[in-house]
């Protein structure tokens, strides 16, 4: 049973869903980690990326590349709509606006009136044909004991490839004078202004960039599941992405990657343990198969609390930096 659990956990930890979440967290790292922007609606950008592909391909019969572009442009527009009224105000305004916007987007997509375009509550499918047609992996079983399919390999290659690409992009940006301005805004906006920096413009760039990365995470998510449904884009997705970011280490280069892999390893490991134990009759009904999801989340919550108490800087954060008071 032990190895079975381990294999389940590793499969998920390196899987495409973890990659999609890593992308959400990379985007949040840009917003929250480096710029100090409180975006509590990252799932909204994810939704836009996912539906951008799904609607373009499934509803309008467009090609995949166009769908990705639509998703990215949608994220840019969403960032502008969210940012223009709020980025001049205090940080909490953006937080409230983003969380509301993400929920509004979800309701709009599941609304029966938008069914002809979004598929309503049933969502959309059959938009990922182009994606799998590009798969260079021949049929077979991959990575030995993990036994991954050719499609899974292709999803992982694209997903993690994008994660590394955007991680590299942020790394390059953050060590440039551009990144220096971004970090100064996180520390004290007025100081940045007093030195002639157009704070609003840089916050906007950050919001757009992180949002676009989140949208690409959404596209990866949709192409992996090969279906989109409005109710996968619940507010808790954003909070998982935040948990991943904080777990790995906020404002660190590889924090989102480490966080995503660790987070999904723990979730899948716990789920597998609970399911297998309950199947073997080792658990009281209270933890039974019905409650696996809830029990897992409880454990994750507990783990996060312990992390905050004993390692608030995350796995890769800098403890000294953490202890400096801001402002």
């Amino acid at each position: 049973m032990g190895t079975g659990i381990l294999i389940d956990a590793i499969r998920t930890a390196i899987g495409p869903t973890a990659a999609a979440y890593a992308l959400l967290a990379v985007g949040l790292n840009m917003h929250f980690g480096y710029t100090g922007l409180l975006n509590f609606g990252q799932v909204g950008f994810m939704l836009v990326g996912a539906y951008g592909v799904a609607i373009t391909v499934a509803t309008f019969g467009g090609p995949l590349w166009l769908g990705v572009i639509v998703g990215v442009l949608g994220a840019v527009v969403l960032a502008l709509i969210l940012g223009i009224p709020t980025l001049r105000l205090r940080a909490d305004y953006l937080a409230i606006t983003t969380i509301a916007a993400a929920e509004i987007l979800r309701f709009l997509t599941r609304n029966s009136g938008s069914e002809p375009v979004t598929g309503g509550v049933f969502g959309l499918r059959q938009f990922s044909g182009d994606f799998y047609a590009l798969n260079p992996y021949p049929p077979g079983s991959y990575l030995g004991v993990l036994g991954l399919s050719q499609n899974r390999m292709w999803q992982m290659t694209v997903g993690w490839g994008l994660v590394f690409l955007f991680t590299l992009l942020l790394w390059a940006l953050m060590r440039s004078p551009w990144g220096r301005i971004i970090r100064s805004i996180r520390e004290d906006e007025d100081a940045a202004r007093s030195l002639g920096k157009n704070v609003f413009f840089y916050k906007m760039q950050s919001l757009v960039l992180g949002g676009v990365i989140g949208a690409i995470g959404g596209a990866v998510f949709a192409l992996t599941l090969q279906t989109v449904q409005p109710d996968t884009f619940l507010p808790q997705v954003t909070f998982f992405a935040f948990a991943i970011l904080i777990l790995g280490g906020t404002a660190t280069t590889i924090g989102p990657i480490v966080g995503a892999v660790t987070f999904w390893f723990i979730i899948a490991g716990l789920q597998s343990t609970l399911r297998r134990s309950s199947d073997a009759g080792l658990l009281p009904d209270f933890f039974g198969s019905q409650a696996v999801g809830a029990t897992t989340l409880t454990f994750v919550g507990l783990l996060l609390m312990l992390l905050m108490i004993f390692r608030p800087q995350g796995l890769f954060g800098d403890k000294r930096e953490m202890q400096l008071d801001v402002k």
Binding site: D190, A192, L324
Partner: protein
């Protein structure tokens, strides 16, 4: 220069010591600027001119409106009415970052050190017109590396001048209050402003260092031709380095003139003695120290 001598010389020698008096070559001209917070009129300046290339001391009891005036001039706050111009350019509605780029840079009474950035990074940030500040150029280091080296050299020079070079790579959040004041002043100079507005730059700085800081401030005027306006509660400091002193009380300019006459101005004496927290503008041995909230 003859700044140590109390008797005015140079371009301000013939200027009458009256509130709102015209100066021969003003860099900053303020007209009818008013700002109230609820019932309090924080600033109510009829007319004020700041002479170019001089050090102007701005004094006044706590709550006189000095910081608010700085905020208004530099775009960090908006007046209810009035206008002001910098280098003959109207500054109404100009956002704070543009005011800084135009050459008017201020420091804050409550320091704003960028805690989780190093002292050097704080300094580097101050340089304007960096090509690596553009999104795409940022991704191509060869486009900005040379400029970055030049900025770093300038930053190191300034840090050495402010005796902070040994802290170059420390996080600014680890600095003491006085060190933060120094860093903020040095950082403002990285912008290479024409007009430097310092809000209590000496508060909390130890007396030995104050002397050398005063030297730097004079150097800004004498060697670099910059204009300085500074707020200070320590009258020794004010009389020591100012070419001209402006006194505010309850938002208005109640007196201005060369340091030699301002101390005995009855309006100034009354403002200080009448105010509950004021310090009489006579030379005192005790330093003002600390940072009023």
């Amino acid at each position: 220069m003859s700044s140590d001598a109390p008797a005015p010389t140079g371009p301000l020698a013939d200027v009458a010591p009256e509130p709102g008096v015209a100066k021969p070559d003003p860099i900053l001209v303020i007209d009818g600027v008013k700002r109230s917070f609820g019932g309090i009129t924080a600033v109510n300046v009829d007319h004020l001119e700041i002479q170019r290339g001089m050090i102007t001391g701005l004094i006044g009891p706590n709550g006189a409106g000095k910081t608010t005036l700085f905020n208004l001039m530099t775009g960090f706050d908006t007046p209810d009415q009035g206008s002001w111009s910098f280098n003959d350019r109207s500054m109404s509605g100009v956002p704070s970052y543009k005011a800084a780029r135009l050459g008017m840079v201020r420091t804050f009474q409550l320091t704003k050190a960028l805690s989780r950035m190093t002292v050097l990074e704080n300094m580097q940030l101050g340089a304007v017109g960096q090509s690596g500040e553009h999104f795409l150029a940022a991704l191509i280091p060869p486009l900005w590396r040379k400029q970055e080296e030049e900025i770093t050299r300038r930053a190191d020079e300034l840090l050495a001048r402010f005796k902070m070079d040994h802290m170059r790579d420390d996080h600014a959040g680890t600095l003491s209050g006085g060190q933060r004041k120094l860093l903020e002043m040095a950082r403002a100079l990285m912008v290479e402003p024409e007009l430097v507005m310092l809000d209590e730059p000496m508060a909390g700085v130890n007396p030995a260092l104050t002397q050398s800081l005063l030297g730097h401030v004079k150097g800004l005027r004498d060697d670099e031709g910059r204009t300085v306006v500074f707020v200070e509660h320590d009258m020794d400091v004010v009389f020591d380095i100012s070419d001209w002193v402006v006194c505010m009380a309850e938002g208005a300019i109640i007196a201005e003139g060369p340091p030699s006459v301002i101390g005995s101005n009855p309006a100034v004496v009354e403002a200080y003695l009448g105010a509950t927290h004021g310090q009489a503008p006579e030379r005192r041995k005790k330093r003002a120290g600390g940072e009023p909230a």
